[in-house]
Symmetry: C2
Subunit: 215 residues, 2 copies
Amino acid sequence: MAIERRPLRDQIRDEVLARLRRGDFPAGQDVNEARLAADLGVSRTPLREALIALEIEGLIQSRPGKGFRFAPVSPKEYRELCPVVAALEALALESSDPEYLARTAPKLLTMATEFDVSVASQAEIEQRDDEWHDLLLGGCRNERLMDLLTTVKASLRRYVHVVIDDETEISRSAGEHKLIAERLISGDLAGAVEALKANWTSGTERVLEKLTRES
Amino acid sequence: MAIERRPLRDQIRDEVLARLRRGDFPAGQDVNEARLAADLGVSRTPLREALIALEIEGLIQSRPGKGFRFAPVSPKEYRELCPVVAALEALALESSDPEYLARTAPKLLTMATEFDVSVASQAEIEQRDDEWHDLLLGGCRNERLMDLLTTVKASLRRYVHVVIDDETEISRSAGEHKLIAERLISGDLAGAVEALKANWTSGTERVLEKLTRES
DNA sequence: GTTCAATATTTTGTATTCAGAATCCAAGCG
DNA sequence: CGCTTGGATTCTGAATACAAAATATTGAAC
């Protein structure tokens, strides 16, 4: 058995990320270090280390003297993040192993089609979409790029609840996924990259509209 | 007088970054927390916080039980970082305020020309190149994107000493800068973006050759 | 002189402590 | 009734303490 030893700060970071994804921490809420540390069963030291890591990744903010808080969401941030993710995913797709893409494209098409018909819970939809993109970019060997993508997408994820449960958005997204897969199957990498960019761009404005309407 | 209060961890981070840029810490070297903390006149706690921030940014690594070390350089990392910076700078340029670009392009051209003729020290060349790119992208209002660029470029900076003091590399770079500026002056944004990407791509392989030859 | 084991020293990872800043609360005053 | 002010309380930011792991050192056996 391979015994793994991970620093507490890393485990705490993962746990906070998981809770964040579950929506346990409302955006903008203050972090009470003592309480959260007690809740996690650790001392404040490794918790603060984890929070600092998350701050660099953009999920948490800190103001001098006032401690940490979960980063508030804003239309501005959403508008900034989308093109970044689009550019990074486009680059990842461009630099993917062609052989991997050829092998994987049919699967991607199948998933996109299934995605279209299945009506699922919010969490499930979110997970499906993530899986699809992960599979799409699984052939990219640029580790730094993939790490960057992971962290930037973590920031974006806080906005997806707005998109989801909108019937038309979902089927639009599924259609775009199909288009990407089809172009990959036909060997049109440049076209697939364009479609992927469009996938990230197309929803942006409509989501932004919703975001501002809600607040 | 506006009194500013910054957490120690931020000040420490800046200081370590500055020393890193000065080449005080050889790549791959272990960090002795106690010694460095004493050297900086702080305790280990905020130093570790700064190191963790730098770890997330990719400049420092940590292995469980063995502490931190300054990230080693590798051809692999360089090959990974270049296209990322290229894509991000391209996006930043694309999404810049057009009016800013029109206003700034002549200055960019002047700087590129001066850059060509002036023979300067390594530090000076490095600074000039940074200033040029900063000015080029000064019209981008996407804060998240610019922050990302700053951190990714910090990782890349550890490789520039390889490029520099090569006469032909410098004049090639200056020529590319001129091309970008000229296209901006003529209003050809798409062309400028292409040239900017090329600027990041063109040197990559030659630098990599040097990198591997050196080691 | 090498190799190995036993022990001493250093260093890390985490917990605890502490000073000072921020927040809260209630009494006093307009 | 609202506004201010003084003090109690909570919380953050940083220093210190401590246990366990890693590393260095010694010394004995071959």
